[in-house]
Symmetry: C2
Subunit: 241 residues, 2 copies
């Protein structure tokens, strides 16, 4: 049995969703509604004590961390391969996915969490206290304390935007030789990982990512969006209730 | 040709050094003296534009990031294997190494950098300015700006110590079932990665890591220190000049 717990086709949840669709691998779709805090439910915490999403359940065993899940999926479902056979290119792939996890994602998360203050400000104070009390992961709890209070400081937002400016420049430079995919001619887990975050750049920081300054990045985004698996992600977007 | 650029058997530089010694793989030893800023020299920056260390040079190709280097080494020099064959255990190994990179190492780096203020305060102001101007990596430059000024704030140090307390508790809990190595009976890249950081705990935060509170961790450290490859690391420690 293969099941994916996810928040829909966005950010870290998109990473394993897209990998499964590229593989054409059937799986049980376990959507969690983050706005209903379903990832902090006792049921889910039995699988993921710190409430971290996404999570893969395969034959009774839990695999966590989207980057790790995707290497696992490529190993247990090897067709089509999404990691290059050449060890050096594989190392390049890992440097690229690691950069998203350690640098790009944390910076984008600051802006995303700050944008959530509008939603968070509507939460009843008692409900806020109750939610914070049940948050299992200390870093997540601290993030929400910030979001429930007043969001991030101007200095923190400027720091995050500065990092995103370097991310946008790095990606554009990387693609500027006209390569089709991040590793060259072979589509890989690196493209999947970056695609989980890059759409946030033109949306949240349009001054950093637009046709004038990042044409190669936008062309890569278009190539991604033409892939049937990427189009298939829409089926995993929750319908408004 | 195989060459490793490193700062000696400590922190991230220890990671690939120990892997190469476990493999019994001969390599060219390219020690860089960080106190002489050799990693910011134009020669080294030709290989590593942002001055990041360690760096592996293999048949003219550069591999960076200690965690990535070790998976590369295990792939190109497969004997003895340092990754489990089972895909699920391999995923567990990657979750463990990722945690060191994303959580443990950054927290320990704050204390380590803060401790460097004693050395940094002796640096001549002109020399400080010259050094900062040649630092190629913005995050590294910001860290040194802090260290050259007054180190980290009490709040930042408390935050880092809080994280290290959770790291120490997590490792002790992980080892409490009496397992020999981090993945159980098989020694792996996870042990190597954690060994690059864990010796810093009893040294810098003895209240968090001592025979009373972390007996399993100290026993694992002892088992590590009995390994011939770990003992061989001493040959790569620079002699005081």
């Amino acid at each position: 049995m293969l099941a994916l717990y996810h928040f829909g086709p966005v950010a870290n949840s998109l990473t394993p969703l897209l990998c499964l669709l590229e593989k054409g691998q059937p799986f049980e779709n376990r959507f969690l509604n983050s706005r209903k805090w379903e990832h902090h439910s006792p049921e889910f915490q039995r699988l993921s004590p710190d409430g971290m999403v996404p999570l893969l359940l395969h034959d009774g065993r839990v695999v966590r961390e989207s980057t790790v899940i995707n290497e696992y999926l490529d190993e247990v479902f090897p067709e089509p391969p999404l990691r290059p056979a050449d060890p050096w290119l594989k190392a390049e792939m890992r440097v690229l996915t690691k950069y998203v996890d350690e640098y790009f994602c944390p910076a984008l998360t600051v802006l995303g969490a700050h944008n959530a203050t509008a939603f968070a400000s509507k939460v009843d104070p008692d409900e806020k206290a109750r939610r914070l009390a049940t948050m299992p992961n200390r870093e997540v709890r601290r993030k929400w304390e910030r979001v429930f209070e007043k969001g991030y400081s101007d200095e923190e937002l400027a720091e995050a935007r500065g990092k995103l400016a370097r991310v946008a420049e790095k990606l554009e430079t990387h693609l500027a030789d006209g390569r089709e995919w991040l590793l060259g001619s072979d589509y890989s887990l690196a493209d999947i990982k970056w695609y989980s975050m890059v759409p946030g750049l033109p949306r949240m920081t349009p001054e950093l990512c637009n046709p004038d300054v990042t044409p190669h990045t936008l062309a890569w985004l278009e190539r991604m969006r033409e892939r049937p698996a990427v189009q298939g992600l829409e089926d995993y977007r929750p319908q408004p209730t």
